[in-house]
């Protein structure tokens, strides 16, 4: 306190500032000290690796041994790499198909469950179950479901006279097949979030609308869904972030095939970093992905801005 006083001009107002300042500083120190474990963890496992990733993207060399600063040549190389451009296209296609599908399915199921008189918890648990199934198991189960010759999907289609489809072996259909698997596996999460948000919707508004003659669909469209906007915003942002990073199901199910049709940016980053021993290129591609996800997330937050509170 004495040291602080020497650096502050003496005066009535500033006296009051001096008296307050040390306590504020002390309180701030306590706050930061209490936050320090979390801040250290975030710095160590998020911020520092991010900085390291950016530095790696500006260098070449393997995981071991010396690296060489190469400036932006990795970025130039990435934008001219046909496989990277293919993975970008695949990732965008996959996310554009999965995000709205999963959200709409989740919303519809959440609305349906909320209308049930009983056993809502049971149904919520049922739709959430695929979310907790390990990806390796889910992917292998899906590989059987979608199998061209003995999978139940083609069996049902066959009953309608549709010839067997090689879902995961056809380059055009492989991404839609993975989209189906990921929607099946992930929409339960959005059901839970939206169900929780539905509980907060005032029943009086719903009842007032029905008294005025609104049908169930009208109530859902004009009242319930607008009131769910913050929860939908949260689900949209999280779905975008997760689905742009898809890696595990591709790694387990298709290894990027057939013929690169399901290769995503995350998968290619893994291949370049750990198979091809090109951490510089891998970091570069991960920066591209980061920028893309950041831009999309900011755009979504802006779109939902006025109503988002979390």
């Amino acid at each position: 306190m004495g040291e602080i006083r020497r650096h502050v001009r003496v005066g009535r107002t500033t006296d009051r500032v001096m008296l307050r300042l040390p306590r504020q500083v002390r309180q701030s120190l306590v706050v930061y000290a209490l936050l320090s474990p979390a801040l250290i963890i975030i710095a160590t496992f998020s911020f520092i690796p991010l900085v390291w990733d950016i530095l790696l993207s500006l260098s070449s060399g393997g995981m071991l041994g010396a690296t060489k600063f190469v400036g932006f040549s990795n970025f130039a190389r990435a934008v001219h790499d046909p496989l990277f451009l293919l993975t970008l296209r695949n990732t965008i296609e996959y996310a554009v198909l999965t995000v709205p599908t999963a959200l709409i399915c989740g919303l519809i199921v959440a609305l349906m469950i909320s209308q049930l008189p009983r056993f809502r918890g049971f149904f919520r648990g049922t739709v959430y179950f695929p979310v907790v199934v390990p990806i390796v198991i889910a992917a292998n189960v899906w590989a059987y479901i979608a199998n061209r010759d003995f999978g139940p999907v083609n069996f049902i289609l066959g009953l309608a006279g549709i010839p067997h489809i090689d879902w995961l072996g056809n380059p055009t259909l492989a991404i839609p097949a993975i989209v189906m698997e990921e929607v099946w596996r992930g929409f339960g999460f959005y059901v839970i979030v939206l169900s929780a948000a539905l509980l907060a919707v005032p029943r009086e508004v719903d009842e007032a609308a029905r008294i005025d003659g609104a049908t169930g669909l009208r109530v859902a469209w004009s009242i319930t869904i607008p009131l769910l906007r913050p929860a939908i915003a949260f689900c949209a942002v999280m779905a975008t972030i997760w689905n742009f990073q898809i890696f595990d199901v591709v790694y387990v199910l298709t290894q990027g095939g057939p013929a690169g049709a399901t290769a995503t940016v995350s998968w290619y980053v893994y291949e370049q970093a750990f198979q091809a021993n090109n951490p510089g290129i891998a970091s570069t591609m991960s920066i591209f992905l980061l920028v893309m996800i950041l831009a999309l997330s900011l755009a979504q937050l802006r779109f939902f801005r006025s109503d988002v509170e979390y």
């Binding site: 393997g62 071991l64 496989l83 199998n147 061209r148 380059p171 057939p258 013929a259 198979q275 090109n278």
Partner: protein, 475 residues
């Protein structure tokens, strides 16, 4: 009641104390995590992988090094003075890492390493089983930390990665004698020779080729094929999706190179600066194998079938010609399908090209770390591991794989496995290039593009070459 200001003061003191304790604890945890003693060898569980698993999945089997007598210690960049066991009493600890080829890996090595230690009382060998799934992570971390294993087993495909970064000892001086190199098939040295230096001595090998389900052939009245035309006709005859039978399964990362070889082409040019696959012979080979049988006839197992599904079909006898490794004969087929009659054929030469019959092999090597502080002792262990006795006791008796050394044969060798061995001299393995893993992955994608009908063989191989040529730098 107490003075409120004194209560606030006590509360401030408590909060300050909590903050200090929290910050101290967090800092201590960080220091403990970042500091680190030498990673002690983890006695990894004696692998979960089966005998036959490695080559078919993540890593090919590797073979052992051998060097009957080490006249001189292998030279590496740093040249520590050869250390002998201290006169007093503390033995020199050598760390030896190997990934499992058996569920009882640790038990198999115990008597072998004990024998070495009995002959070298000043040396203690600490053996660690490294799970295949952790292979790259463990070795990268070990090399990066400056505490790699002294002696280790490494599959062929990984050697350029670590050799190019100066992590492996150059063993050229100890294997320069023909008496040593002639102990092994000449082709086995290529994958461990990177930029003119040899970094590993062969230990064991696996071979892949077309395993014929002779029972299915006989049931359908089809003769065992000898040429690509025979294969195409047989595949067509045997494929019946409604019955769940298929003529040919060949989608694999390891099939495309020997198919190219059958057309006289190689994946890389000799100087490793270019892709060598898109020659007329290579294109023709892919046309007959992938385009005709896969895309046009659709006589191949669909690309979407997973490895588990393929294995189930193989064992049930639903596939006529299966791309299989020899280790699966005894480990899987003889046990789970004992009544299935089997035969094996190589990848046949493509008519009208200067190719030859081919197959795929992987070799695993015994290597020494460049950073080892006990170079002489590590060499002694390497020499010991590369003897006929160890080949017999571990490779043949223990894990039933192909010993790398010549003239070391298993008694009562399965006749089908014996046929596989004959394919080795004209077989093809990984190229000793740092670009190999990336090239192999993209070659498989290119073959899938042909099988699925997206591209012709020429389009796929030309595109493959034009995409990769700018990346190749001869390393």
């Amino acid at each position: 009641m107490g003075d409120p200001s004194s209560r606030r003061a006590r509360r401030r003191d408590v909060l300050r104390g909590i903050g200090v304790i929290g910050a101290t604890a967090a800092t201590s945890v960080l220091i403990a995590a970042c500091g680190g003693g030498a990673s002690t060898p983890t006695a990894a569980s004696a692998g979960t992988t089966s005998n036959a698993a490695p080559a078919a999945t993540a890593t090919p089997a590797s073979s052992a090094a051998s060097a009957p007598t080490a006249a001189a210690a292998p030279t590496t960049a740093p040249q520590p003075a050869a250390t002998s066991a201290p006169a007093t009493g503390n033995p020199i600890k050598l760390t030896y890492w190997k990934s499992p080829h058996s569920a009882t890996e640790q038990q198999l090595w115990q008597p072998i390493l004990k024998q070495f230690q009995d002959k070298n009382p000043g040396i203690q060998v600490v053996h660690t089983v490294i799970p295949w799934g952790d292979f790259d992570a463990k070795f990268t971390a070990a090399f990066a930390s400056g505490e790699p294993p002294d002696v280790f087993y490494m599959p062929d495909e990984w050697i350029p990665k670590y050799a190019s970064q100066g992590q492996m000892a150059d063993l050229s001086p100890i294997i320069k004698s023909e008496a040593i190199t002639n102990n092994y098939p000449a082709v086995f040295w290529s994958s461990s020779t990177y930029q003119g230096k040899t970094y590993g001595v062969p230990f064991l090998a696996v071979v892949q080729a077309f395993l014929i389900n002779q029972s299915l052939f006989e049931a359908e009245g089809v003769a065992i094929p000898k040429t690509w035309d025979d294969i195409r006709a047989a595949a067509k005859k045997l494929t019946n999706p409604s019955k769940g039978t298929y003529g040919l399964s060949m989608d694999s990362q390891n099939a495309p190179p020997p198919v190219l070889m059958a057309g006289g082409a190689t994946v890389f040019s000799k100087d490793l600066h270019q892709i060598g696959a898109n020659t007329p012979g290579g294109i023709q080979a892919w046309t007959v194998a992938y385009q005709n049988i896969g895309a046009e006839d659709k006589s191949m197992v669909p690309l979407s079938f997973t490895a588990d599904q393929l294995t189930a079909l193989n064992i049930k006898g639903n596939i006529g010609m299966m791309w299989q490794e020899e280790s699966s004969i005894v480990a899987e087929f003889r046990k789970q399908a004992p009544n299935m009659k089997l035969d094996v054929i190589p990848v046949p030469k493509v008519d009208g090209t200067d190719g030859h019959d081919s197959a795929w092999y992987n070799v695993g090597y015994m290597c020494i770390a460049a950073q080892t502080p006990h170079l002489q002792q590590a060499t002694d262990l390497l020499n010991f591991l590369d003897t006929k006795a160890v080949q017999q006791s571990y490779v043949i008796t223990g894990v039933n794989l192909i010993p790398a050394m010549n003239n070391v044969k298993a008694p009562n060798l399965d006749p089908v496995v014996a046929k596989y061995l004959a394919f080795i001299p004209e077989g093809v393995g990984p190229t000793a290039s740092t670009h190999w893993p990336d090239v192999k992955q993209k070659l498989q994608q290119a073959s899938q593009a042909v099988i699925s009908g997206q591209k012709t063989a020429k389009q796929a191989l030309d595109e493959f070459a034009s995409n990769l040529n700018p990346e190749l730098d001869g390393n």
